[in-house]
């Protein structure tokens, strides 16, 4: 494929990733990595590295939506980020030692999991845990956010198990080039009992930093083709902008389900490649 055609294909893929990411809340990495490996036959470490830059672009592009709303709990984000960045560093370190077919298998499994989660209704927990755990109390994690003009106070619990999940989320993010938002939100929502909106906003705050930890590794290791990465990022930013406007006109629930079906099909293809079929 000529460099010009590669730029056009990657740019289109980036736009698709940005649109889908902003409409469904699922990370663009689930689109970018299969595109780069299955369509453009790029080596897995390069595809993962490029995708991590796409993840930073998605997170940065979506961030203004959350800034100033008071939804992101910065203390929770910073505390859990120690775990996510440690996991990301570990994931980046082992990434070049994991055989490509094994990575395809893990990626396929994570995609299938994300697809299944898309069909499960999201929680609408507003107030969160009834009381803060002693550890969460010492870390002063309880906070409040504004909803419909009034302040909603919430407590926090389950800090230690969530910390453990974040190590795994960071590890997978670095290994597979994804944001791991689905795991981060799950840990904050189900284990820490944070209100769902707070979990989503805090996850967005964390995703960029997790991706930056391992993207720095891939960049200095020489795994980032600048033209491909540049085209992906441009596409993602444009796609996120378009998606933000489409969101007002389309049913995001329906789109999420359609995307989940597409995700399942690509996951099967990744699994088949992983099994050498």
């Amino acid at each position: 494929m000529s460099p010009l055609l590669t730029v056009l294909v990657v740019l289109s893929g980036g736009v698709a990733a940005g649109v889908i990411g902003s409409l469904t809340g699922l990370g663009g990495g689930l689109v970018i990595v299969p595109l780069l490996t299955l369509v453009l036959h790029m080596p897995v470490p390069e595809a993962v590295g490029v995708s991590l830059f796409g993840v930073i672009a998605t997170s940065t592009g979506a961030a203004p939506r959350f800034v100033g709303t008071g939804l992101a709990n910065v203390r929770v984000g910073l505390f859990l980020q120690m775990a996510a960045s440690s996991g990301a560093l570990l994931g980046a370190l082992v990434s070049h030692r994991v055989p490509a077919h094994f990575l395809f298998l893990i990626f396929g499994a994570v995609m299938l999991y994300s697809a299944v989660m898309s069909f499960i209704p999201t929680a609408s927990d507003v107030t969160g845990a009834a009381v803060s755990s002693p550890f969460a109390g010492r870390l002063r994690l309880a906070s409040r956010y504004q909803q419909d003009g009034r302040w909603v106070e919430y407590r926090v619990t389950g800090v230690v198990p969530a910390f453990g999940v974040m190590i795994g989320a960071g590890f997978l993010s670095a290994l597979l080039g994804i944001g791991s938002g689905v795991f981060k939100v799950l840990a904050m929502d189900k284990l820490m009992r944070l209100p769902f909106k707070v979990s989503t906003a805090t996850s967005n705050f964390m995703i960029g930093m997790t991706a930056a930890t391992s993207a720095g590794y891939y960049l200095s290791h020489g795994d980032i083709p600048p033209l491909t990465a540049g085209a992906v990022i441009l596409g993602v930013i444009v796609g996120a902008y378009v998606g933000g406007h489409l969101m007002k006109k389309l049913s995001s629930r329906l789109l999420r389900r359609v995307f989940a079906v597409v995700l399942s099909l690509v996951a099967l293809q990744m699994l088949l490649k992983g099994f050498g079929l």
Binding site: P3, T6, L139, I224
Partner: protein, 122 residues
């Protein structure tokens, strides 16, 4: 406290706006130069320390190499979450919140470690 939150909001919003605009501008120039020159050779992958990569960007940027602008755009994007983190540490320091200054510094150290280990070929 409200003034502090507003201060944090303004710093974060400013960082995000400037970095996205700068990143987009640099990447557009890079892709534009590549397409206009009709160069069949794709820019090489950067590697080494942040200073090595920055040095190469400045050196090649003078000759208007597409790769220099593309890598500069990537660096701006990579440093955006780091800048948000540094801003968070600064705001925590102003609030005399020692625990979260320390936690922020640990996270910053992990991000920097990623760069250092990658350059060492780990």
């Amino acid at each position: 406290m409200n003034a502090l939150i507003e201060h944090r909001r303004r710093i974060t919003a400013g960082i995000l706006r400037v970095s996205i605009a700068l990143c987009l501008g640099l990447l557009l120039i890079g892709v534009g130069i590549f397409l206009l020159r009709g160069d069949e050779r794709t820019p090489a992958n950067p590697s080494g320390s942040l200073f090595d990569i920055l040095g190469a960007v400045l050196h090649r940027g003078e000759a208007l190499h597409a790769g220099a602008f593309l890598v500069a755009g990537l660096l701006v994007l990579l440093l955006t979450p780091v800048a948000r983190l540094v801003a968070g540490i600064y705001v925590s320091a102003r609030a005399r919140d020692g625990l979260y200054v320390l936690i922020g510094l640990v996270v910053l150290a992990l991000v920097v470690a990623g760069l250092l280990i990658g350059q060492a070929g780990g």
